[in-house]
Amino acid sequence: MAGVPLDIQLLNLCAALLLLLSFAMLSQRRIVNLVNLLALQGTVLFIATLLIAWRTRQPHLYLSAVLTLALKVMLLPYLLHRLIRRLEVYWDAEPLLNISGTMLIGVLIVVFSFGLAQPISALASTATRNAIGIAVAVVLLSFLTMITRRKAMSQVVGFLSMENGLFFGAMSATYGMPMVVEFGVALDVLVAVLVLGIFFFQIREQFDSLDLHHLESLREDASSRRSE
């Protein structure tokens, strides 16, 4: 580690923290904690963006950092917390696979992502290229979170965490995306959360629960109605 500048060390630390938070999300059963972890992820991304902005002296990255702070640390978690309170969904049901099995698959995913990312890192030209593997791992782990959950709220959190991972990947590989793309993605995410929020109310109205397997029974209802 001799000779590695402090900001690169801090960036490596941020990458490791991001990975840790994704793993923590895999094992959480309380939805409130999930949203808090998402907010923590946003904070880590904010710090990472600031560091990269300082290192590469690109002023638009400061704007990106402020956007990240406003959106991912403050607005979205606030919206999600409000949603949780109004829907009264605090606990997730037992995940599809038990915690140890999920963790094991998570470790295998991390190994896969790291192995995959090694040749890609060789092509990138940034100083943080090693962290591309972590970004891929975060995306895949969030996907796994989405797959192994039953409540719709947890899946939304997984989706947002996936977007965090992509953002971090873009940061470490190419020092950020063009501002237009960033605005577009941010708007998309915001709208998605608002629309999903409305949907959750509808689902809750219909089934009295946000357990997603109720959505599957819609098919049987239609077929049984047809047979009458």
Partner: protein
């Protein structure tokens, strides 16, 4: 062997033997402060041990010679382990004989003999305690080995003093992999030393005991040796943590002999901080159900593996 090495070795053994009960007393003191009650004296563990040595040993009727031999073996294993861990200096001749993996083997020896002795009594509590102690042990040992593995990878050796020297003389840097493994190590420490959240060291309910159940039938000098060995185990674990994660202050190769003397107050400071931290952790956590303990240890193992993978990827 140079005289400084012999002195370091003997000093470490003496300090470990002498300071281990004090460490336990200090943790009790911190816990009492946090609970807003007045604590017993920090010297109480010494008085306890001394009192126990004077008593007559009462041995269960069905117990064999293994039961009477086990406390000596467990105590010896802990003393030899204390001689291997570089708590004050890295010039320890005994570490040529046993490296970090042998240290884990020593801890396993102590655990196996303690469980065998508990099974020797032939009571339900003893065998239950033995079963649980081995369950915690078989998950904690790979996690501990993984922690040592990561440190060995960074320093390219498994000799604990060499690891400490390497980490102490590095330029100060942030190692995320070591951060992960530090968390894993802390969890393993809590599990192996029968601390909350895995086991309550002050419990008197037999059905919730893990470590205490293996000591249930012991009395007098055997119990004194076992208690001392448990205190030594906690001391050793704390010193392993310092050697791996807070190695500064240890007198390294090539430093003056006076550095050895200077390392003693530093060690005391580290131990005081560690004791306070342990007391805080005990305060904010609740004891886990017995079958949550494997999940707790699996999480520790996972942290250690993550630390390994992060080290391999980031080189940090």
């Amino acid at each position: 062997m140079r005289p400084i090495e012999i002195i370091t070795q003997l000093l470490e053994l003496v300090v470990a033997l002498a300071a281990a009960p004090l460490f336990v007393g200090w943790i009790n003191q911190c816990r009492a402060w946090l609970q807003n009650r007045s604590a017993p004296s920090v010297w109480l563990p010494y008085r306890n041990i001394r009192k126990l040595f004077h008593k007559d040993a009462v041995i269960a009727e069905g117990a064999s010679r293994l039961f009477r031999l086990a406390p000596y073996i467990v105590f010896a294993a802990m003393v030899v382990a204390a001689g291997i861990i570089p708590s004050m200096g890295t010039r320890l001749p005994l570490t040529q004989v046993a490296d970090a993996i042998a240290l884990v083997g020593l801890l396993a020896t102590a655990r196996v003999f303690m469980s065998l002795a508990a099974m020797d009594t032939g009571t339900a509590f003893g065998t239950l305690g033995a079963r649980r102690e081995m369950m915690v042990g078989f998950l904690a040992e790979p996690a501990l080995l993984m922690v040592i593995f990561v440190a060995s990878l960074i320093s390219a050796t498994t000799a604990l003093p060499a690891i400490t020297e390497h980490l102490a003389t590095q330029t100060l840097g942030l190692y995320p992999s070591l951060a992960f493994t530090a968390v894993a190590f802390l969890m393993v420490l809590l599990a192996e030393n029968a601390r909350i959240p895995v086991d309550n060291p002050a419990t008197h309910l037999e059905l919730t005991m893990i470590h205490e159940a293996t000591l249930l039938e012991y009395s007098a000098r055997h119990l004194a040796l076992m208690e001392w060995a448990s205190a030594l185990k906690l001391f050793n674990y704390a010193c392993i943590g310092f050697a791996l994660f807070i190695p500064w202050g240890v007198s390294t190769r090539g430093s003056a002999p006076v550095a050895l003397l200077a390392s003693i107050p530093l060690l005391a400071l580290k131990l005081a901080a560690a004791g306070a931290l342990l007391a805080v952790i005990e305060m904010v956590s609740a004891k886990l159900r017995v079958f949550r303990a494997p999940e707790f240890l699996a999480t520790a193992f996972l942290f250690a593996v993550l630390g390994l993978l992060v080290h391999l990827l980031l080189g940090a």
